[in-house]
Amino acid sequence: MSLKRLLAVFMARNREFLRDRAAMGWNLIFPVLIVAGFAFAFSGEPAPLYKVGIYGANAGNGFFATEYVQFIEMPELAPAITKVERHQIDLLLDSAAQRYWINESSPRGYVLEKILQGSSQAGYAKQVVAGRQIRYVDWLIPGVIGMNIMFSALYGVGYVIVRYRKNGVLKRLKATPLSAIEFLTAQVFSRLWLILAVAMVVFFGTNLFVDFAMYGSYLTLFLVFAMGAFCMISMGLVIAARIASEELAEGLLNLISWPMMFLSGVWFSLEGANPLVQEFSKIFPLTHMIGAARSVMFDGAMLSAVMPQLLVLAAMSALFLALGALLFRWE
């Protein structure tokens, strides 16, 4: 493999992308518009329903009998405390140990504490936690960035190579000493760095006006996005391996990207969905990338915690790359 030839194609592809102002603008503006839209749509106060987590037995009397409060059983203590920190529940009760947790920055936690102190459980010991609320718009950020990465990877590689094949660019390149592996490697890395650069601009740009939560390591998050992008670029190579019709390529890319967008947890969590749908969603690389990104951003997951998703993405990438390289034809 010649690095000089690879760099020549890499640079040409970069220029082509960066100078195509319309495509470049759309890549940047589309995710920002979605985040802005959801930030606006969910800017109002949520429904006035208090949520109280109960660890252990529900006493059924006193505070436990308060109306207009939703009591949710929490089988494990640590995740329940995290939910108080993230404002996902307003107060947590442990009836066996006679203690409760509230987040001091939560107004609803304050109201519930006053009700608790006026009830028969007034003697419970107070435990204070801190942490900011995870809003829907926060939760949406990794999904939208993931979706943008998916479209950019699939169409930026899959569709573009098919177009090159159709209009004869590939035929001309085939008549030079450039090898298929040099060409494909240049396409992959050109698209990868551009995707990651755009993702970073979108991430930090939206943070300026949304100010979303980020508890984990930026480096780990970058690795998650990089591996996810690499996996979906490799997927694009499989689509682009032989097809010479832009219409067929577009159809196939739609066939893959739209189910992935709706079943990978971009817009809503699949926790309450049919178990079959949850299992099916695991065939999509986007599911693993978004899941790992949310773990890093909102649960502060370390690299080791998201390793299973990264390994799945690595295995999928290897499979797609092998298929793409085996099936590839210049014409």
């Binding site: 030839r5 020549a8 040409a12 592809r13 100078r19 085939k174 008549a175 210049w330």
Partner: protein, 294 residues
């Protein structure tokens, strides 16, 4: 002239259809070799096999006496019939990209001057005219200072001035000792540029030689052209080989003096008479048939 490329019993089948049917020929070093034929004759397939971008079904190609291999790409310059270039990059950047593909390279400045690219060197490839685009594609074909240059219909779709510019460039390439393989539909172009021509039809070679030798071998007559209005009924009864071509009549004759005398005797005015020699167009039509094939 020693052989640069030797083609022996080349065959190419496409799903049961034989596009190239056992053709053999030799291209001399430093020559301009023309490959002619009607659409579907198999000339583009033959050229693509020679360019190394298509595998033959059978047959051999030897370059400088050795079988064709991957290193041939470094010594060949190729200009396809229609090639899209990457968009949003300039002519200069396109040349620089192709330059990096090769181990040896021509000077970009010299190519720019030779192909007259100065006026659009920093223009996006999307915004080039047909002639500018062809000149850039020719410069790309020469970027590796090739031993052999393949030009597949380089002037198709160009206006007469742009066509003559390309002809001059091809003559410059020849003058530098390069070997040129040219495919074209224009017989005038083949006559102007080629030292040797090969005419193919239905995958086979039907004529081969220098343009003048081929014309001499096939024709001993000349063509007299008269306006239809000047051609009398008495002349039409003469024992002449005639072709009605719209507003004019073409008369083929080996004895011009006798024919002219017969025409004068038949009351034909010769004031608007024109005489022309047989051309490659005539040869092409005679060998491949006059009807337009689908």
């Amino acid at each position: 002239m020693d052989a640069l490329i030797e083609v022996d019993k080349l065959v190419k089948d496409f799903q049961g259809v034989r596009a190239v049917d056992g053709v053999s020929f030799t291209i001399g070093r430093g020559s301009c070799f023309g490959l002619l034929g009607p659409n579907g004759a198999g000339k583009t397939t033959t050229v693509e096999i020679l360019e190394g971008i298509r595998e033959p079904t059978s047959g051999t190609i030897r370059y400088k006496g050795a079988p064709l291999d991957a290193s041939f790409h470094h010594e060949a310059g190729i200009m396809f019939q229609s090639t899209a270039l990457q968009e949003f990059i300039t002519a200069r950047e396109t040349l620089a990209m192709f330059q990096r593909f090769y181990t040896r390279s021509a000077s970009i400045d010299e190519l720019v001057a030779a192909c007259s690219l100065e006026s659009f060197l920093d223009r996006d490839t999307r915004k080039l005219s047909g002639g500018q685009r062809q000149r850039l594609l020719l410069a790309i074909a020469l970027i590796n200072d090739p031993e052999v240059v393949f030009l597949d219909e380089p002037t198709t779709g160009l206006d007469p001035q742009a066509r003559r510019n390309i002809w001059n460039l091809v003559r410059t390439i020849k003058a530098r000792g390069k070997t040129v393989l040219l495919t074209t539909h224009y017989m005038e172009e083949a006559y102007e540029l080629c030292d040797e021509i090969l005419i193919m039809d239905r995958g086979r070679i039907i004529a081969e030689g220098s343009p003048d030798a081929l014309l001499a071998a096939h024709f001993s007559d000349v063509v007299l052209l008269l306006p239809q209005a000047d051609f009398t009924a008495a002349a039409a009864a003469l024992p002449l080989t005639l072709y009605n071509c719209g507003d004019s009549v073409e008369i083929l004759t080996c004895g011009v003096t006798d024919t002219l005398r017969q025409l004068l005797d038949a009351g034909v005015s010769l004031d608007r008479l024109r005489v022309r020699s047989r051309t490659l167009d005539d040869l092409f039509l005679e060998l491949t048939g006059k009807e337009i094939r689908p």
